[in-house]
């Protein structure tokens, strides 16, 4: 079980008894209030009908789950690949490694592109975070974190800072400076604090806010400048391994995936879970929104990638083959959403036709697990990072 003793560290006056206490969010008729723990417990048992025992609530939950499945099944009139039959098949793809970035001393765990479509930040098990120029393969910056297993890293939208974290349970922001005399580590700012490892982080539309996911089972939104917790997202029953923000046109939501096999879509403002999907058979390692924002893909240890449509509220495609038995660690879409690139633990990268459900290409090159994969912001290339200590840029 995950460590769910992480409560919102907000102190203030309780909305019910007005005493100055540690507050937690409660929902009353889908409105969010802040109650102290005493009032929250009272509210939980308030208005309890005579027969409303734990058992009756559990059975109501089960019947609601069944009803949810029924509602979803009613709209399942056709499969995506059937609708996609009228679309032209894709031609042959020639994708090769165009650049190999060498320099990490141990497994590469995470990477992210800068919006300038050129720079890449990557983090590794040995605690090093490196910023590369992918055109020249030169290293521009390097930071040594105080912890090993830096599992998450992200580039700020402005290109002026990077965020990273891992076993230190924190997310730290480093402003990037080209001044040779300045020590990057000196300007480090600790932004997020979790009670377990940091598994993923991402800046929102600006350099001012960061969204984090953690092994403590929660996601959280932080203000970078003050380090204040703005919103926390509780609902996963185990470690959260990945998250992705919706493309900006579609509003304030994000999707997260975890060891509880669930992918959950959250409203960033209210902290509520809007939709949840539980069809994977093992940990979800990676989630990525479809470019239109109406769907998202997930990669899991059950060796499949799946596409979930948010408006149909169900899984609409599975990308799998009997010959693929190793988990998918990382997924990303091409610019149009027609191709899904997925990195696997069997050292390969499979390219899937999203609409038809078939595999288009298989890429070899890495000498160990592919742990991270991202398409560049202009879609001209994608970069993969691996446990073989290298990153490769493919085009």
């Amino acid at each position: 079980m995950c460590d769910q003793t992480f409560l919102v560290n907000v102190f203030g006056s309780c909305d019910k008894c007005f005493k100055q206490r540690a507050l937690r969010p409660v929902f009353k008729k889908s409105q969010q209030l802040s109650y102290c723990s005493v009032c929250a417990e009272i509210m939980a048992t308030d208005g309890l009908h005579e027969n409303e025992t734990l058992a009756s609530l559990k059975s109501e939950a089960e019947s609601l789950k069944g009803k949810l499945e029924e509602e979803r099944a009613k709209l399942h009139d056709v499969e995506l690949h059937q609708v996609a039959e009228r679309v032209e098949a894709l031609g042959q793809f020639v994708m090769k490694t165009r650049r190999t970035l060498k320099g990490h001393g141990n497994k590469v765990l995470c990477m992210d592109w800068c919006k300038d479509k050129r720079r890449i930040v990557s983090s590794s098990q040995d605690g090093k975070v490196i910023v590369w120029d992918s055109f020249t393969t030169n290293k521009e910056h390097a930071v040594t974190m105080p912890c090993t297993w830096v599992m998450a890293c992200a580039y700020a939208p402005s290109g002026c800072a990077i965020a990273c974290g891992g076993l230190d349970n924190k997310c730290s922001v480093y402003p990037l400076t080209f001044d040779k005399n300045e020590n990057m580590a000196a300007k480090k700012k600790s932004v997020a604090m979790h009670t377990n490892y940091l598994s993923a982080c991402s800046f929102t539309n600006s350099d001012m806010q960061i969204l984090t996911a953690s092994g403590d089972g929660t996601c959280a939104l932080w203000d970078v400048e003050s380090g204040q917790l703005l919103q926390s997202f509780h609902g996963h029953g185990a470690d959260v391994l990945c998250l992705d923000l919706a493309p900006s046109e579609t509003g304030n939501t994000f999707v997260s995936g975890g060891c509880d096999k669930k992918a959950m879509v959250w409203d960033m403002r209210s902290g509520q879970c809007i939709q949840a999907f539980e069809t994977h058979e093992s940990d979800i390692n990676s989630v990525r929104y479809y470019p239109s924002g109406d769907a998202f893909a997930s990669g899991s240890d059950d060796a499949t990638c799946r596409l979930y449509d948010l408006r149909a509220d169900r899984e609409v495609a599975i990308y799998s083959k009997e010959s693929i038995i190793f988990g998918a660690s990382s997924v990303d879409f091409s610019l149009s959403g027609r191709l899904l690139f997925a990195g696997y633990n069997d050292y390969t990268i499979n390219v899937w036709d999203v609409l038809k459900g078939s595999r288009v290409s298989i890429l070899f090159g890495h000498e160990n697990r592919v742990s991270t994969l991202r398409v560049s912001p202009d879609g001209t290339a994608f970069c993969s990072g691996s446990w073989d200590h290298t990153l490769r840029v493919w085009a």
């Binding site: 929902f27 417990e41 009272i42 509210m43 939980a44 048992t45 309890l48 025992t53 734990l54 609530l57 109501e60 939950a61 609601l64 789950k65 009803k67 949810l68 509602e71 979803r72 709209l75 399942h76 009139d77 056709v78 499969e79 995506l80 609708v83 996609a84 679309v87 994708m95 165009r98 650049r99 050129r118 992918s134 055109f135 509520q272 879970c273 809007i274 949840a276 479809y290 239109s292 109406d294 769907a295 449509d309 408006r311 149909a312 509220d313 609409v316 091409s334 610019l335 149009s336 959403g337 027609r338 191709l339 999203v354 609409l355 202009d378 879609g379 001209t380 290339a381 840029v393 085009a395």
Partner: protein, 72 residues
């Protein structure tokens, strides 16, 4: 894990789960045929600007090798 006594927090958790499920069951859904058609439409519209599908010439792709140039 659950003892004979049901604590307030167990019931609280169960109630939250039931409320969450009620909310999820009540959202508006679209038929898969419509949702799939929209995904298709987005794909075909964006396909022209997808470098992996259209293939941009080696000269403009910063990662691909340019043709060797002669030194005059």
């Amino acid at each position: 894990m659950s003892g004979k006594v049901t604590t307030g927090s167990d019931i609280g958790q169960a109630r939250r789960a039931v409320e969450q499920l009620r909310m999820e069951a009540g959202i508006d859904r679209v038929k898969v045929s419509k949702a799939a058609a929209d995904l298709l439409q987005f794909c075909t519209e964006q396909a022209k600007s997808d470098p992996f599908l259209v293939g941009i010439p080696a000269a403009t792709n910063p990662f691909k090798e340019k043709k060797p140039c002669a030194i005059l």
